[in-house]
């Protein structure tokens, strides 16, 4: 038992080391502009534009259900007009970035791992290297930058859609008084909530792209290897998003208090 635990821990540590080295290599490559701008534009299109439906539906229905649930609880203590404020703060600082990132991890993280994994299995990555092209410059950097650009934009979209959808459910379906609800929302939502959400989504974007690329680049040979890499990319990215979200919330909220944002 101890042997297996030790092996699991040393494998986990080695994987963490490799992904750190990949991150370092990718950041260094970003700073020296070795990537192709056309590839970056295509990846922004693939990650950003192609994820529209997923993000809009997630944002809208999360906002709606949150509004309904909050209303039913607050109605008991006659605080109906605080509903939108709760939805707004939750959507901006927590649910918007986390749910968007989880949806993008499922769609984009899997696609990145499958594409790069197939390239590895069919020797296309070796072919890149023989053509004097670093796989990190050509494959990782455009995806990392595109994810860092697209995920925060998608998050803003999810926040706006969620708040708008909660407004319609609250006002037109549940009968909340719109003026007070809107005023309370503006009173209790701060710039720092949006800023925290955007910082988180930027980091989550990086996590999705890096884990997808890492799993693709290290995938085992064969169809089974590509399948496993794809599954692991989604699972590891989702877990990393959820765990890092907790620490980011603690750190960023403390920072917001210290800096009085």
């Amino acid at each position: 038992m101890n042997f297996f635990l030790n092996k699991w821990f040393s494998d986990w540590l080695a994987g963490l080391g490799r992904i750190t080295l990949l991150t370092r290599e990718a950041v260094a490559s970003c700073l020296t502009f070795k990537f192709d701008r056309r590839d970056l534009a295509y990846q922004v299109y693939f990650i950003g534009i192609k994820s529209q439906s997923v993000v809009l539906i997630t944002g809208a229905f999360t906002g709606m259900v949150l509004a309904a649930q909050t209303y039913y609880q607050f109605h008991k203590i006659k605080m109906d007009t605080a509903t939108l404020a709760v939805v707004s703060v939750s959507m901006c600082s927590e649910l918007g970035p986390v749910l968007t990132a989880l949806m993008v991890a499922g769609r984009v993280g899997a696609a990145i791992a499958a594409e790069i994994g197939t390239m590895r299995v069919t020797e296309q990555i070796d072919a890149l290297r023989t053509l004097a092209t670093h796989p990190v410059d050509y494959l990782v950097v455009p995806r990392l930058l595109a994810s860092n650009i697209a995920v925060p934009l998608l998050t803003i979209e999810a926040m706006a859609t969620g708040i708008a959808a909660s407004y319609f459910v609250g006002v037109y379906l549940l009968g909340i008084e719109p003026t007070y609800a809107w005023w309370n929302m503006l009173k209790y939502s701060h710039d720092s909530d949006v800023l925290i959400g955007l910082i988180k989504s930027f980091i989550f974007g990086g996590i999705i792209a890096l884990i997808g690329c890492y799993k693709g680049l290290t995938c085992e040979v064969g169809a089974q290897g590509v399948g496993r890499a794809t599954t692991e990319a989604v699972v590891y990215a989702s877990i990393s998003i959820l765990i890092s979200n907790f620490f980011l919330t603690l750190t960023l909220e403390q920072l917001a208090v210290l800096l009085k944002v």
């Binding site: 390239m119 020797e123 070796d126 072919a127 290297r129 023989t130 053509l131 004097a132 092209t133 670093h134």
Partner: protein
């Protein structure tokens, strides 16, 4: 010039290369032969730094590439072109984009110049007019030709071929052999071919290296190899299986 000194490589417990040493002069055409699974492709990948040995040295024009990191290797790899066993074409790109890949990445040319160079390279490999096709639409032989066009478009000094005729019919294999000879003579490149096709080895090679039991067993001219009475060499050339041996 490529020089390999005392190269050793294992995958896990299994030793693949055990003290392999040889030298390839500029402009020479060398064929590496040996049994399937004997480490020929592994050896070839060491020459361009795709694999790192456990010990030993690989010198390309006097530089030890084993000591280099991936970024330093990129500079050395511009001297090389490589044709893969399965062609390894980028399946998300057209034939033209595959062939132009190296030019677009490393040379500052206009699109008109790139189009001209691509057309010329495809003509050299007898595939004119296929620019807009996708790799999936091509046959095995055509894919290898496109792979060759991609490898030679930026006129490398050394071209490596990993089993260029494997899986092809004898007529297509013959045309690939002629193509290798044409590229060698036309571009005056150093050629290294990994194969177990003896007909191909005889036609293409100025020199033959035979890999057997993790070591270089024979290093000679093709004529000397075919005249050899060494039982291991003879068995390989004649293609005779040993009744005592488990082959699969």
């Amino acid at each position: 010039m490529i020089e390999v000194r005392n190269l050793e490589k294992s995958f896990g417990e299994q030793k693949i290369l055990d003290g392999v040493s040889f030298r390839i002069e500029n402009g020479e055409s060398v064929v590496i032969i040996g049994r399937s699974g004997g480490g020929k492709s592994v050896l070839l990948k060491h020459l361009i730094g795709l694999l790192q040995p456990d010990s030993g040295e690989v010198l390309v024009d006097g530089e030890n590439i084993v000591a280099m990191n991936e970024r330093q290797l990129l500079r050395v790899r511009r001297k090389f072109g490589m044709v893969f066993q399965g062609a390894a074409l980028f399946d998300s790109m057209s034939v033209a984009d595959n062939v132009a890949f190296g030019l677009r990445r490393h040379e500052h040319l206009t699109e008109t110049e790139i189009t001209k160079r691509v057309a010329k390279a495809l003509e050299v490999v007898d595939l004119p007019g296929t620019e807009n096709k996708n790799p999936a639409e091509l046959s095995g032989g055509m894919r290898k030709r496109v792979g060759l066009a991609r490898a030679i478009i930026y006129e490398p000094q050394i071209v490596l071929y990993d089993e260029p005729t494997t899986g092809l019919d004898p007529i297509v294999s013959d045309s690939i052999d002629k193509l290798i000879i044409r590229v060698r003579d036309h571009l005056k490149v150093t050629t290294v071919v990994v194969t177990h096709d003896m007909r191909s080895a005889r036609r293409v090679g100025d020199h033959v290296l035979m890999l057997h039991d993790k070591k270089i067993h024979a290093n000679c001219k093709p004529e000397a190899l075919f005249a050899s009475q060494d039982p291991i060499v003879r068995q390989f050339i004649d293609g005779v299986a040993d009744a005592q041996e488990t082959l699969f």
